[in-house]
């Protein structure tokens, strides 16, 4: 059951992205930035958490989910550490993802070669 909820939630967020690509001048790079920032803001406003509770990975895997992790980390860290938490909380919470991106990204880029498109 939670697979279906993840599927629907994730699919729905992607459809919003598709509409932006086809109907506006949004390039993929701008979509990535807009969605992450939206995730941060919606989490701060308390709107994204319910979506995560419902959709699980369907809300955390799309890029707003990265923003969700950032915002949640920041708020928790501010609660515990005060002002310093505003600077440390986000990166602390997403450290795993960022490090994975750097490491796996570098390895894949170093080991593989790009191919001509068909």
């Amino acid at each position: 059951m939670d697979y279906i909820k993840a599927f629907i939630t994730g699919g729905f967020i992607c459809v919003i992205g598709q509409i932006l690509i086809d109907k506006t001048k949004f390039t993929p790079a701008r979509i990535l930035v807009a969605f992450v920032t939206a995730g941060v803001l919606l989490t701060a406003l308390g709107v994204y958490e319910p979506l995560v509770n419902f959709g699980g990975a369907g809300a955390t895997i799309p890029l707003p989910g990265f923003g969700y992790a950032l915002a949640k980390g920041v708020i928790e860290e501010v609660k515990e550490e005060g002002l310093l938490g505003a600077f440390t909380g986000g990166v602390k919470a997403t450290a795993g993802g960022i490090t994975a991106a750097i490491l796996f990204g570098y390895l894949a880029a170093a080991l593989f070669n790009p191919k001509m498109k068909r």
Binding site: G10, F12, C14, Q18, A29, A44, G65, L70, G105
Partner: protein
């Protein structure tokens, strides 16, 4: 530029916009829904496996699933498969975190010919960099607002 030429230009731009063939939004949206939903379902599988077999709590399971999806996105990009998925899935392959990994590996991979430091190393974040910049910066803003106004 004189006003008459400006008017001619505007007429031409409007005509081009009106006449340009549009993408098939319905077909693209359905494909985005299916591909994006599918990727997220795989992510959910990893979350469940993490919680059931590795006794991870929910938060850690989400972190691990994001890391595994980044690994998969990087691998599929390296194997030359992710761009084919993107052709079909559109936003369904750009929006999930696998798309973030794809945007990291793809520019770095082809910059290999320029060396491992200034080629691969420097180009890793040429497309994905803004995501970190704006994501982390906006989280700092949220933290400051929370500290000064909510706490």
């Amino acid at each position: 530029m004189n006003p008459r030429q400006q008017k001619k230009n505007k007429q031409y731009q409007d005509y081009v916009k009106h006449k340009s063939p549009a993408s098939n939004l319905l077909k693209n949206s359905i494909c985005a829904f299916l591909v994006g939903g599918g990727i997220c379902a795989v992510g959910q599988l990893i979350v469940n496996v993490g919680m059931t077999y590795y006794d991870l709590d929910k938060e850690k399971a989400y972190i691990v699933s994001a890391m595994v999806m980044i690994f998969l996105g990087s691998l599929l990009t390296g194997l030359g498969v992710y761009d084919d998925l993107g052709k079909i899935g559109g936003a369904g392959s750009i929006v999930p975190i696998t798309g973030f990994a794809n945007s990291i590996v793809s520019p770095a991979m082809e910059a290999k010919r320029e060396g491992y430091i200034f080629g691969v190393g420097a180009k890793l974040f040429s497309i994905a960099g803004p995501v970190l910049v704006y994501g982390i910066s906006s989280s700092v803003v949220v933290g400051l607002v929370y500290y000064f106004f909510v706490k």
